[in-house]
C-alpha cells in the first residue's frame, strides 16, 4: 500500500503529537490514585473526555480521582459510556463534593478491575439495569469529598493554618484571614502525600451547585467532531481485521471449509475455523469481507433450532393453556373472574428484537509475550475478562481490558456468556502466535447474531363488576428466560425469572384479585436484555389492557388510572404531571388526532407519557407529539435525563412500529437496516419532558423512557381508529 506521503505524515504527526502531549502530564503528583504506565492526555480549556487507547496499568484502592499539577481533575468512570451519560454524571458527583470548577473536570473509562470498579448493585464490574448513577451516587461523592479533604489538608500544612478555616470554591482553596489561595494543581503534589481521611461529611443537597444544574456533557466535543475513539477506530501496529463467517442457524458448527477462493483475495493473511464459525484475517475490512463471501462452508446443523416463527407462536399458545408458575398473587383471581359481570380476554404477541447499536460489535485484542490486552466497549468487564483468560489459557493477571466508548448498546454488549470477547479471543488464539487483531461484526452479523429480546406471548383476562370496577386480573406470560444459565441465574426465585415478569408481577393498580404467572420456554435462539428488558413487553400488555378495561367501563384513561393509584404517589405524581403538561382533556382531541396515556415504573424510576397520533400516509400511526414526565429521584443532570427520555421514546417507538426478527426454519429472515428498519428523523415526534423535583435517592434513566411509549401510542391509535394492536409490530408482515 502506498499513499502520497503528505497525508500519511499528517496523520502520523497528529498521532505522535497526541501521544507526546499525553505523556507530559506530569509525574507522580497524584491525589488518591496511583497509575502505572497509563497515558493521561493533557488538555486545557473545557471539561472533556480523555481517550486513551492504552489503558494498561494499575490503580490503587481509592482509584477514582486524580488531581494533576496542570490543574485538571480526572475521574476514572467505572461505567461504560454508551450514550446514557455516565461519564458526565459520575464526574459531576465527584466535582460537586470536590468543589471543583466544571471546566477542570475530565472523565476516562476505567479498565477491567473488579475489586476497584465493581458495580455496587451487581457485585461485578458492569453497566446495565439503569444502575450507573444509583449505585455510584454516594461512592463518587465520597471520592470527591476525600480528594477535597486531602487538598485542604495540604493547604493547611503549606500555609500553617487550621484546616477548618480553609474554604474551597470552584477549584480554588482560600484562607481569608491570611489572604492565602491556591488552585488544586498547585497543591496536587503535596496533597498526594496526605493520608486520606477515614470518613468524610457529604454536602447537604441544599448546597449542591453542580448536581441538578445540567452541566454540558463531557463527550459532546469529541463526538461532534469525529474525534471520539470507538473500538473500530483503535490503531495497533500490524493489526489484522477479522471477520467471522457465522452459521446460518444458531449453534451450528463448521465441519468442512473450502477456502481456496477466499485465500486468493489480495490482502487475506489467514483463515481458521473457530468454535463460532470461520475466521478470516486480512489487512483491512474490505479484503476480509470479500474473502468471507468467497468461503464455501459445510455446517453441522444437528441439534439446532429449526422452527419458524409461526410454529413457535403455536407452541407458545399451547404453553399459555398449561399450568403455570405463579409470579405473584393476591386475593383470588379465579373466583373473582368467575363472579365478574363482564369479562375481557386478550392475547399479546411480542417479536424477537435485535438491539442494533450503530456501532456493530467489535473487539480489538492482542497477544504479546504471554500477556493479552483487549480494548473494546466492554459492558460486563468482569465476565469478559474471565472469558478471555479462559479462552487464551492465561492467568487472569495476564489479561487486561481497556474500556472504550461504545457506539450504543441497549443491552447488547452486556453479555453474560462473554460471547464477543470469547469470539475475539478464539480468533486470536487460533493464530497460534503473538498478533494484534480487530474483530469486526458487519450489520448482517449483528441483525442475524441472536441475543434478541425474547419472543413473548401474554394472555390477559380481566373482570369488571356491575359498577365497572376492575375486580379480577389474570395474566400469563410465556417467554424464554434471559438469565437461566448465566451468572445472574441466582436471581431466579421459585422457578420464575424476574426479568420475564417485571412490570407485571408488581402491577401498581389497586385490583383486589390478581394473578400473574409465567412459563419459560426452551428455544434454540439466544436471548438477552434489550433496553428495559421485561418491561418492553409487560409495560405494553398491562398498560393497553388496563386502558381497554377503563374505556370499556366509561372511565377517562388518566382519571381512571389515578383512582387505582391512591397508594402509589409516585406513579400518580408523574401521571398528573404529564396530564398537566399535555393539557389532557381526554383521548379524543378532534382534527384527525387522538391521544393515549401510559404510566410505568421500571428500574425504580417512574415515567408517564401521553402520545398524540394521527393517521399516517402508510396506514401506520403518525406520532405527532409526546409529553413525558419522569420521577427519578434527585435529578443529577436534568438535560441528560430529558435527552434519555427523548431517546428512549424514539427507540421504543421504532421497535413498536417497525421491528421484528422472524425465523424461517431456524434461519433469521432479516439482515440489515433495509429489512430491520430504524426510526428516522421524519418519524420522530415532538417531545416535551418534565422532570419531577425530588429528594428521593437517584435512580436510572437509560431504560425507563422506553416502556410507556408503545402503550401510549397503541392507546391513542385505538382511540383514533377503534383498532387494538396486540401483535407487534404495527406493520407486522409475518405470522
Amino acid at each position: 500500500m502506498r499513499y502520497l506521503s503528505t497525508l500519511q505524515q499528517a496523520v502520523l504527526v497528529t498521532r505522535r503529537e497526541f501521544l507526546r502531549t499525553a505523556g507530559t502530564a506530569g509525574a507522580g503528583l497524584i491525589v488518591s490514585v496511583k497509575l502505572g504506565g497509563l497515558a493521561w492526555a493533557q488538555r486545557s480549556g473545557a471539561a472533556s473526555v480523555i481517550q486513551s487507547e492504552d489503558a494498561q496499568g494499575t490503580i490503587d484502592a481509592t482509584g477514582f480521582v486524580k488531581v494533576s499539577p496542570d490543574n485538571t481533575v480526572t475521574v476514572m468512570v467505572k461505567h461504560l459510556e454508551m450514550g446514557q451519560g455516565p461519564y458526565t454524571g459520575l464526574t459531576t458527583l465527584v466535582a460537586e463534593e470536590l468543589d471543583a470548577h466544571w471546566s477542570q473536570m475530565r472523565a476516562q473509562g476505567a479498565p477491567a478491575n473488579t475489586e476497584l470498579y465493581k458495580n455496587l448493585a451487581f457485585g461485578i464490574q458492569g453497566t446495565g439495569g439503569s444502575t450507573a448513577i444509583a449505585n455510584s451516587y454516594e461512592q463518587m461523592r465520597k471520592a470527591g469529598a476525600t480528594a477535597r479533604a486531602m487538598l485542604v489538608a495540604a493547604a493547611a500544612e503549606e500555609w500553617g493554618v487550621p484546616a477548618k478555616e480553609i474554604s474551597v470554591r470552584k477549584g480554588v482553596l482560600r484562607h481569608s484571614a491570611s489572604g492565602e489561595q491556591a488552585t488544586f494543581g498547585q497543591l496536587a503534589e503535596r496533597a498526594a502525600k496526605m493520608a486520606p481521611p477515614n470518613d468524610v461529611q457529604l454536602k447537604d443537597p441544599s448546597r449542591f451547585t453542580l448536581i441538578g444544574s445540567s452541566v454540558g456533557k463531557l463527550d459532546s466535543p469529541e463526538k461532534s467532531t469525529g474525534q471520539a475513539i470507538y473500538t473500530i477506530d483503535v490503531q495497533r501496529p500490524d493489526v489484522l481485521t477479522v471477520l467471522v463467517a457465522h452459521p446460518p442457524r444458531f449453534g451450528a458448527k463448521a465441519i468442512a471449509v473450502d477456502d481456496t477462493q477466499a485465500r486468493a483475495v489480495r490482502g487475506v493473511v489467514d483463515i481458521k475455523t473457530i468454535p463460532q464459525g470461520v475466521a478470516v484475517y486480512a489487512k483491512g475490512f474490505w479484503p476480509a469481507s470479500k474473502a468471507r463471501a468467497a468461503l464455501k462452508i459445510t455446517w453441522d446443523e444437528s441439534g439446532t433450532e429449526m422452527r419458524s416463527t409461526a410454529q413457535l407462536l403455536a407452541q407458545y399458545r399451547a404453553h399459555a393453556e398449561q399450568p403455570q408458575v405463579a409470579a405473584s398473587s393476591r386475593g383470588n383471581a379465579q373466583t373473582a373472574m368467575e363472579k365478574a359481570v363482564r369479562r375481557y380476554e386478550a392475547e399479546y404477541v411480542f417479536p424477537y428484537l435485535a438491539h442494533a447499536p450503530m456501532e456493530p460489535l467489535d473487539c480489538a485484542i492482542e497477544l504479546s509475550d504471554g500477556a493479552c490486552q483487549a480494548w473494546f466497549g466492554s459492558q460486563l468487564q468482569t465476565v469478559d475478562h474471565m472469558t478471555i483468560a479462559k479462552v487464551m489459557e492465561l492467568p487472569a493477571e495476564k489479561v487486561g481490558i481497556g474500556t472504550l466508548l461504545a457506539g450504543g448498546s441497549f443491552g447488547r454488549r452486556a453479555q453474560p456468556a462473554g460471547d464477543l470477547a470469547g469470539e475475539a479471543a478464539a480468533a486470536l488464539k487460533a493464530l497460534g502466535r503473538d498478533a494484534s487483531i480487530k474483530l469486526v461484526w458487519t450489520r448482517e452479523d449483528d441483525i442475524r447474531g441472536g441475543r434478541y429480546r425474547p419472543f413473548t406471548l401474554h394472555r390477559l383476562r380481566g373482570g369488571l363488576d356491575k359498577s365497572g370496577n376492575i375486580v379480577a386480573w389474570d395474566q400469563t406470560i410465556v417467554s424464554q428466560s434471559i438469565i437461566k444459565g448465566s451468572p445472574f441465574e441466582m436471581m431466579i426465585k421459585d422457578g420464575v425469572d424476574p426479568t420475564m415478569v417485571e412490570g407485571a408481577a408488581d402491577l401498581p393498580y389497586a385490583i383486589a384479585n390478581l394473578r400473574v404467572s409465567a412459563h419459560a420456554t426452551e428455544v434454540g435462539v439466544p436471548v438477552l436484555w434489550w433496553r428495559s428488558v421485561g418491561h418492553t413487553h409487560t409495560g405494553y400488555a398491562t398498560e393497553t389492557f388496563l386502558d381497554e378495561l377503563l374505556v370499556a367501563s366509561g372511565k377517562d384513561p388518566v382519571q381512571g388510572r389515578l383512582a387505582l393509584l391512591k397508594s402509589e404517589p409516585r406513579h400518580a405524581g408523574v401521571l398528573k404531571a404529564v396530564a398537566n403538561l399535555a393539557r389532557w382533556k381526554g383521548a379524543k382531541v378532534g382534527d384527525g388526532r387522538a391521544r393515549g396515556v401510559a404510566v410505568h415504573k421500571s428500574f425504580d424510576t417512574y415515567v408517564a407519557q401521553i402520545a398524540e397520533v394521527s393517521m399516517g400516509s402508510n396506514g401506520l400511526p403518525k406520532v405527532e407529539h409526546v409529553w413525558c414526565a419522569i420521577d427519578c429521584g434527585v435529578a443529577v443532570n436534568p438535560e441528560v435525563i430529558k435527552a434519555q427520555m427523548e431517546g428512549g421514546i424514539g427507540y421504543g417507538l421504532g421497535a413498536v412500529l417497525f421491528d421484528e426478527i422472524t425465523l424461517d426454519q431456524g434461519r433469521v429472515v432479516q439482515a440489515n437496516f433495509n429489512n430491520y428498519r430504524m426510526l428516522r428523523i421524519d418519524e420522530m415526534p415532538k417531545v416535551d419532558v418534565v422532570v419531577i423535583r425530588s429528594t428521593e435517592k437517584p435512580t436510572g434513566v437509560g431504560e425507563p423512557g422506553v416502556p410507556p411509549i408503545g402503550p401510549a401510542v397503541a392507546n391513542a391509535w385505538r382511540a383514533l381508529t377503534g383498532t387494538s394492536v396486540r401483535h407487534l409490530p404495527f406493520n407486522r408482515v409475518s405470522v
Binding site: G216, K217, S220, K223, S224, M358, G407, N674, D682
Partner: protein, 152 residues
C-alpha cells in the same frame, strides 16, 4: 492505483478498484471519524462530501472517486461547519455519538444549500441518517440553531 484528494491533500492508494471509499479512508488513510454502520447506504454513518455533495462512502467504489475531492469530518471547515459543530456541542446532541459524524456532514451540506431550513427541509435532508439513540429532537433543534447563527 487511484489518485484523489482528501481534505485538500492529494493521495494515491493502491487497493482493489471495488474497495469502498469508506475503507480506504479508515484502513488506508487512518481517518476514522467516518463510520461504518451498515455497508448498504441505509444509515448514513459513513457520509462524506464528494465534490461538495453528501455521499455514502460505504457504497462508493474507490475507482469512481478518481480525481475527486473528498472531505471528511476531520477536514470540514467554513462557516456552516463551524455553526453546526458549535450547535451540536451547545445542545449536547450526541448520546453514543457513533452516527454523529455522518449527521454533521449531512447537516453542513444542508445549510450550504438551504440557509434557513424548515422542519420539513430538515426531515427531507436528514432522513437518510439513522441515529439509533434517536437524538433527532436535538438534531433538528441544532440545525435551526446553526441556521440562526449563520443568519446573524
Amino acid at each position: 492505483m487511484t489518485s484523489f484528494f482528501v481534505n485538500g491533500q492529494s493521495v494515491i492508494v493502491d487497493v482493489d478498484p471495488d474497495t469502498p471509499l469508506l475503507w480506504v479512508l479508515r484502513d488506508e488513510l487512518k481517518l476514522t471519524g467516518t463510520k461504518f454502520g451498515c455497508g448498504i447506504a441505509q444509515c448514513g454513518a459513513c457520509t462524506v462530501h464528494l465534490d461538495g455533495m453528501p455521499r455514502r462512502s460505504c457504497v462508493t467504489p474507490i475507482a469512481s472517486v478518481a480525481g475527486g475531492k473528498v472531505t471528511t469530518i476531520e477536514g470540514i471547515s467554513g462557516k456552516e461547519a463551524d455553526a453546526v459543530t458549535r450547535a451540536w456541542i451547545a445542545l449536547d446532541v450526541p448520546q453514543c455519538g457513533y452516527c454523529q459524524s455522518g449527521q454533521v456532514m449531512t447537516a453542513v451540506a444542508l445549510l450550504a444549500e438551504i440557509r434557513e431550513p424548515t422542519d420539513s427541509d430538515i426531515d427531507a435532508a436528514m432522513a437518510g441518517n439513522v441515529c439509533r439513540c434517536a437524538t433527532y429532537v436535538r438534531i433538528r433543534a441544532a440545525i435551526h440553531r446553526a441556521a440562526a447563527t449563520l443568519g446573524a
